[in-house]
Subunit: 174 residues, 2 copies
DNA sequence: GTCCTTGCAAAACATTTGCAGTTCC
DNA sequence: GGAACTGCAAATGTTTTGCAAGGAC
């Protein structure tokens, strides 16, 4: 599944899974005595409906289309809240930015190919790798709570583009 | 292979591999017209002989035992140089700190289990996972230059300790 | 003598926090 | 009404950069 930067996520995710996440969030907020504000609702809806792997910056821009006055801190705090209750997962792909994605069951089992040239992020799923991970964890008596499996390199498009432009793979001599 | 925090790395690494890395660095520096200074030599030797997964902070402390006046910037710049020429790899394990390890052939093929409770880092190697990675890359026409595979959770010791102390696994209600 | 390197301090960067005012329940 | 929330600005923590002085070749 290749996810283009501006593609919306809604269509991909099982509506029942979305519902379950909303319920989990709701429960968590009640338990903690947290409040439902206009800003939080807007940020959360934007996050649920937006593209995967959005950065804080991405989210803030989208959110400000509806409410000009929303500040960075509120977005940070809200996404942190989502991560705390297991509704969102924070991801870092090495460009120094935090990205967030829905923590539904499907997301829990996919990993990423990241193109270092164009920034494209491709998701993949490989049950046989998961199987091996479990074997390894068992071997070391480790109890796994999460994992990160990323492969960095050049996507097919960029390999083609590089060949055409004569760009060098190994730019050791600038 | 479990690596304790203060264990030295020297004994683990094939001397020929170390030699190859030194040569690569040497070649790179000559090609770029870079100079061999006392500070660089000290930082590089300390890195080569020190424990794996050292942070900049760790390195600076060790280096200052021999030369009090070395600054952060020099350590940053030198490690960046090592990473550029493929002698060191930068790793981030989610605690906000950059760690560096030797990029020898063995390191290129191992990944990490990270204990979220005590910070222990366990290295593992699984050729069958590498095999599957290659399959996936091929399927997407991706050319892989590096990868990152980390599993986070609790190590055997910490599971034991947690049980004894009655610590709760899921601290949702603070 | 070049021009690369260093150490310092300042800047840059993403993220967090303190606070006064506002909103929710 | 009181606690939670917001937006701002200031603080934080890590990493990078500008610069004048020093050192390698």
């Amino acid at each position: 599944m290749v996810v283009a930067p501006n593609e919306e996520r809604g269509a991909h995710v099982d509506p029942a899974a979305l519902e379950a996440l909303r319920t989990r969030l709701q429960t968590y907020m009640v338990k903690k005595g947290l409040r439902s504000t206009a800003q939080r609702r807007l940020i959360i809806d934007t996050f649920f409906e937006g593209a995967p792997h959005m950065t804080i910056e991405d989210l803030l821009q989208k959110v400000r289309n509806h409410d000009r006055g929303i500040g960075y801190a509120t977005v940070y705090r809200t996404l942190k809240l989502l991560a705390e209750c297991g509704v969102a997962s924070e991801r870092r792909f090495g460009d120094g930015l935090s990205r967030y994605e829905l923590a539904d069951e499907a997301s829990a089992h996919h990993d990423h190919l990241i193109c270092l040239r164009c920034g494209k992020i491709i998701e993949f799923e490989e049950p046989r790798i998961e199987q091996l991970q479990d074997e390894i964890a068992e071997k070391y008596g480790f109890l796994i709570t999460s994992h990160k499996h990323e492969m960095y390199g050049h996507c097919a498009d960029c390999q083609r583009a590089r060949k055409e432009s004569g760009e060098d793979l190994d730019e050791l001599d600038e």
